[in-house]
C-alpha cells in the first residue's frame, strides 16, 4: 500500500517544485510531514524524498545559472583597490612635506582556456617611476593619469612529475618569492617572461624560477635583467599536538640577479635613466649589478594569531664597496575581521640597512628613506581592519643615510585601503 503513497508524494512534491520558489518547498514539507504523521511514509522515506527533491532542484538551478549567465562572464574576475594616504616627511636635508595621495588600481583575470589566463590592470602613477602608483593631491584638481600597470598571459600546462608549471609573459607582478622590500619595491612590475616549476612533497614544496626582463632597448644596445631563484618551504612538524609546531612553516630561497649592459661608469645609460636615475648607487665604485639574494622566513600561529620572522640579505658581487644590504623583521597578526581582538589587527617592525651599491637603487623600496639605496633605519607599523575589505595602517619610517651627509629622512604614513 505504501508504494502508491510514495509515488503520489514524489509526484505531487515534484509538481509543486516546478515553480522553484521557496514557497513550494514549505508546501512540500507540510505534505511530507502529514504523510509521516498519518503513517503513510516513515521518517526515513520522507527524508529520502526530501533528499531527491533537493538534489534535483540543485542540479536544475545549476543548469539555469549556466544558461542565464554568459560563459564569458563566468570566467572573468574583476578586482581593484583604492588607497588614500596622508604622508608627512621630516627631512634634515630638505624641506618637510605633508602631502595627501591616492592610488587607484582596477583590473581583471580572464580564464581564456583551461591552461591560459589573461590579466590586465590599470593604475594611477607616473610613466617615469616604476616603483610608485601614487598620485598627489597637489595640482588644483587636475585630472589624474592612468597607466598600464599589468598586462600578461599565464600558461599553466600539466607536466607529468611536476605539480605546478607556470609560464608568464608581459607586464607581470614580481615573479620572485620575497619577504621584504629590500631588493624589490612592492609596486614594481616586470616587463618580460618568467617560468616557474613547483614540486610538492606532502606539506613541503621546492621550486625553481627563471625570468628575463628587458630594461631598455634601442638600435645601439639592449639592457636587460635576468634572474634565477630556487627555494623550498615546508611544515616539517604538521600534525603535531602542539598548535605552534603544527603551524610551523619554514621558507627559504636564494636568487641570482644579473643586470646586463647596465653600465654605470662614464654616466647613466638609457636603462638607468628610464628607471629614474641611480637613486643612491655610487658611480665611482659600481659598474654593474650582479646580485646574490637569500631570503627566509619562519611563521607559525600562537593562540591562533599568525607570527612571522623574516630576513633578507643582498650582496652585489660586481661592486668594490658598499655592496651589502640586509633586513630582518617580525610581524604579528593578520587584519581580516573588523575590530576583532584576535583577527582584526596586524603589527610589524623591521630594521633595514641597504648600502649604496647593494642593489639597483631604482627598484628598491620607494618609501624607505625616500627610495633608492644608501639608507638604514627602523620601520614600525600597525594595521587595523576597520570595515569589510578595508584597513587603516599607521607606519613610521625612521631612517638616515649610510654614507655621505648621513641626513635623516623620517616618514609618517596613514593609509586607508579598500579592496573591491
Amino acid at each position: 500500500m505504501r508504494r502508491w503513497a510514495w509515488c503520489l508524494a514524489v509526484g505531487v512534491a515534484g509538481l509543486l517544485c516546478v515553480s522553484g520558489a521557496a514557497a513550494a518547498q514549505s508546501e512540500v514539507d507540510i505534505l511530507l510531514d502529514t504523510l509521516v504523521d498519518k503513517g503513510i511514509l516513515t521518517h526515513v522515506e520522507a527524508g529520502l524524498i526530501r533528499r531527491e527533491i533537493s538534489e534535483t532542484s540543485s542540479a536544475r538551478n545549476a543548469q539555469v545559472a549556466k544558461d542565464v549567465v554568459p560563459a564569458w562572464s563566468r570566467n572573468w574576475k574583476w578586482k581593484g583597490d583604492i588607497r588614500l594616504r596622508n604622508e608627512y616627511r621630516d627631512r634634515s636635508a630638505s624641506t618637510n612635506v605633508n602631502r595627501q595621495r591616492v592610488r587607484f588600481r582596477v583590473g581583471f583575470d580572464a580564464k581564456v582556456a583551461d591552461t591560459l589566463k589573461a590579466t590586465g590592470q590599470i593604475a594611477t602613477g607616473s610613466t617615469s617611476d616604476p616603483v610608485s602608483t601614487n598620485d598627489s593631491f597637489d595640482d588644483s584638481f587636475n585630472k589624474k593619469p592612468f597607466n598600464l600597470d599589468l598586462a600578461y598571459l599565464t600558461y599553466t600546462p600539466e607536466i607529468m612529475g611536476i605539480d605546478e608549471t607556470k609560464m608568464t609573459g608581459g607586464i607581470m607582478p614580481n615573479p620572485h618569492v620575497t619577504h621584504s622590500p629590500l631588493v624589490w619595491d612592492g609596486d614594481l612590475n616586470f616587463d618580460g617572461v618568467a617560468a616557474k616549476i613547483t614540486k610538492e612533497f606532502g606539506d613541503s614544496a621546492v621550486f625553481a624560477m627563471a625570468q628575463l626582463s628587458s630594461l631598455d632597448t634601442d638600435i645601439h644596445e639592449s639592457s636587460q635583467m635576468w634572474s634565477m631563484q630556487v627555494g623550498a618551504s615546508g611544515k616539517l612538524l604538521a600534525g603535531s599536538d602542539e598548535d605552534i609546531l603544527d603551524h610551523l612553516k619554514l621558507e627559504g630561497a636564494v636568487s641570482w640577479i644579473n643586470y646586463g649592459d647596465v653600465r654605470a661608469g662614464g654616466g647613466e645609460n638609457g636603462a638607468i635613466g628610464a628607471a629614474g636615475g641611480l637613486k643612491g648607487n655610487l658611480l665611482a665604485s659600481v659598474h654593474d649589478w650582479n646580485l646574490i639574494n637569500p631570503t627566509g622566513a619562519i611563521s607559525t600561529k600562537v593562540n591562533g594569531i599568525p607570527v612571522k620572522l623574516y630576513a633578507d640579505w643582498v650582496h652585489n658581487t660586481a661592486s668594490t664597496e658598499y655592496d651589502n644590504g640586509y633586513l630582518f623583521g617580525a610581524k604579528v597578526g593578520k587584519a581580516k575581521k573588523p575590530w576583532d581582538l584576535k583577527e582584526g589587527w596586524e603589527a610589524g617592525y623591521f630594521f633595514e640597512r641597504i648600502d649604496p651599491n647593494a642593489t639597483f637603487g631604482a627598484f628598491t623600496d620607494s618609501d624607505f628613506g625616500g627610495g633608492g639605496t644608501n639608507h638604514k633605519g627602523h620601520v614600525y607599523y600597525v594595521t587595523l581592519a576597520t570595515l569589510k575589505n578595508s584597513t587603516l595602517t599607521l607606519k613610521y619610517l625612521d631612517t638616515q643615510q649610510v654614507t655621505g651627509s648621513k641626513s635623516h629622512f623620517d616618514t609618517l604614513q596613514a593609509d586607508w585601503v579598500t579592496k573591491f
Binding site: A9, L16, V18, S19, D33, G39, I40, T42, L48
Partner: protein, 327 residues
C-alpha cells in the same frame, strides 16, 4: 504553476491521505537498524587505497579502515583529512580513490570532475550528522529558532537576529530572567565549529565569550556543570546532564526535536549527510577493494562505528539506495 492549481493538487492529496490507515512510528534511540546484515568477507580483495578529504570524517574513516582490515589484514588504507575541499582534486588527479566529504560537492567541483572523466562523481551517503543545541537539564527553555541560536552565539548576527545575552531575553522568567547565558563551543580546527558557523550563524562570527572546548564531549560536560550553559555538539554525545533543545528553522514555527527520526526525515534544522565520493564510471564495476570497503561501511558492522563516533547510522532504506549506486 498558479496558486489555484497547486491548491487543487494539495486538496486531492489530502483527500487520498484520509483513506490511508495510520501506522505507528515511535522515535527510537540511536542504534543500528536491525535489518542490516553484518559484513561478509569475500575473496580476491587486496592492495592499497588512499582516502583524502574531510577532517570531520577522519575518525570514522580510521575506525572503518581498522575494522575493514580485520577482514583483510594485507590491505593498506592511507587516510588524510585536511578538509572536504581536498577531496575533489584528489579524486580528479587519481591520488585518492575515496573522497570523504561532510558536504555535497559544489557545482564547480562536479564540473571539473565531469570535464576530466566525462561523467559525474558518485556520492555515497555513509552516515548522518546532527548538531544539537544543549542546555543544562534544569533549563526550562522550550525551544529555540535558529535566529535565536544565531543571536546567542554570534557577534555579527548575520542571520538578521538581535543579540541575546540573558535567558530572560530568550523568553524565560523568574530566576532565569536575569541569568546571563554561558556559551560553550568547539575550537576553530573542528569541522563541527565550521558547520555550526555556516548553518547556524549564517557564516557569521562567534562571540569571543564562547568557551572553546577541545572535543564534543567536553562541550556537553561544560553545559552539564553550568546551570546557565548552552553549547552545540553532536547528537550522539547527549548525556543525562543536558537537554537537547528542539529547534525550528528560520522563518518557520514548526519545532523539531533532535531525534534520529527527525534526522532521517531531514526536518531537524542542523542535520546533514556525510559522504564518501568515488570515481565510478557508468556501466563499469568499481575497483573490488573500494567496492568492498564501501560495502563494509554500509553494513551493520560499519554502522556500529558510526554510532561509536557520535553520528547517526543509516536506516536500511537509505543503505539500499546507496548500495544501488555501487552496482
Amino acid at each position: 504553476m498558479n496558486e489555484t492549481r497547486r491548491g487543487l493538487i494539495c486538496t486531492t492529496a489530502a483527500a487520498l491521505l484520509a483513506l490511508a490507515a495510520p501506522a505507528l512510528y515511535a522515535d527510537e534511540a540511536v542504534k543500528v537498524d536491525s535489518r542490516l546484515m553484518d559484513y561478509q568477507r569475500v575473496s580476491g580483495v587486496s592492495g592499497s587505497v588512499n582516502s583524502i578529504g574531510s577532517d570531520t570524517l577522519n575518525n570514522l574513516m580510521t575506525f572503518w579502515a581498522e575494522g575493514f582490515r580485520t577482514h583483510y589484514p594485507s590491505v593498506r588504507i592511507q587516510i588524510e583529512g585536511k578538509g572536504s575541499s581536498t577531496a575533489p582534486p584528489a579524486l580528479i588527479s587519481g591520488t585518492a580513490q575515496l573522497g570523504p566529504m561532510s558536504r555535497p560537492m559544489k557545482g564547480t567541483e562536479i564540473d571539473a570532475f565531469e570535464k576530466k572523466f566525462g561523467y559525474k562523481p558518485t556520492a555515497i551517503g555513509v552516515a548522518l550528522d546532527a548538531l544539537a543545541v544543549y542546555v543544562n537539564k534544569d533549563n526550562p527553555v522550550q525551544s529555540l529558532n535558529l535566529k535565536q541560536v544565531d543571536a546567542i552565539f554570534s557577534s555579527t548576527q548575520s542571520c538578521g537576529s538581535e543579540n541575546l545575552t540573558t535567558w530572560g531575553e530568550a523568553g524565560l522568567t523568574g530566576a532565569w530572567a536575569a541569568r546571563p547565558m554561558s556559551l560553550f563551543g568547539r575550537n576553530s580546527a573542528s569541522g563541527t565549529y565550521g558547520y555550526f558557523k555556516e548553518h547556524a550563524l549564517c557564516k557569521g562570527d562567534y562571540k569571543p565569550t564562547v568557551k572553546e572546548q577541545p572535543g564534543s564531549a567536553a562541550v556537553v560536560e561544560g553545559v552539564t556543570n553550568d546551570l546557565a550553559g548552552v553549547g552545540y555538539s553532536g547528537i550522539g554525545y547527549k548525556t543525562a546532564g543536558v537537554r537537547a533543545v528542539p529547534l525550528s528553522a528560520i522563518g518557520s514555527t514548526k519545532v523539531y526535536e533532535a531525534t534520529p527520526a527527525h534526522v532521517y526525515a531531514g526536518t531537524y534544522p542542523l542535520s546533514r549527510y556525510l559522504y564518501v565520493y568515488v570515481n565510478k564510471a557508468p556501466g563499469k564495476p568499481l575497483d573490488p577493494l573500494v567496492m568492498e570497503f564501501l560495502k563494509y561501511v554500509l553494513s551493520a558492522d560499519g554502522q556500529e562505528v558510526v554510532i561509536k563516533d557520535g553520528y547517526v547510522p543509516l536506516a536500511k532504506e537509505i543503505v539500499d539506495v546507496e548500495l544501488n549506486k555501487l552496482e
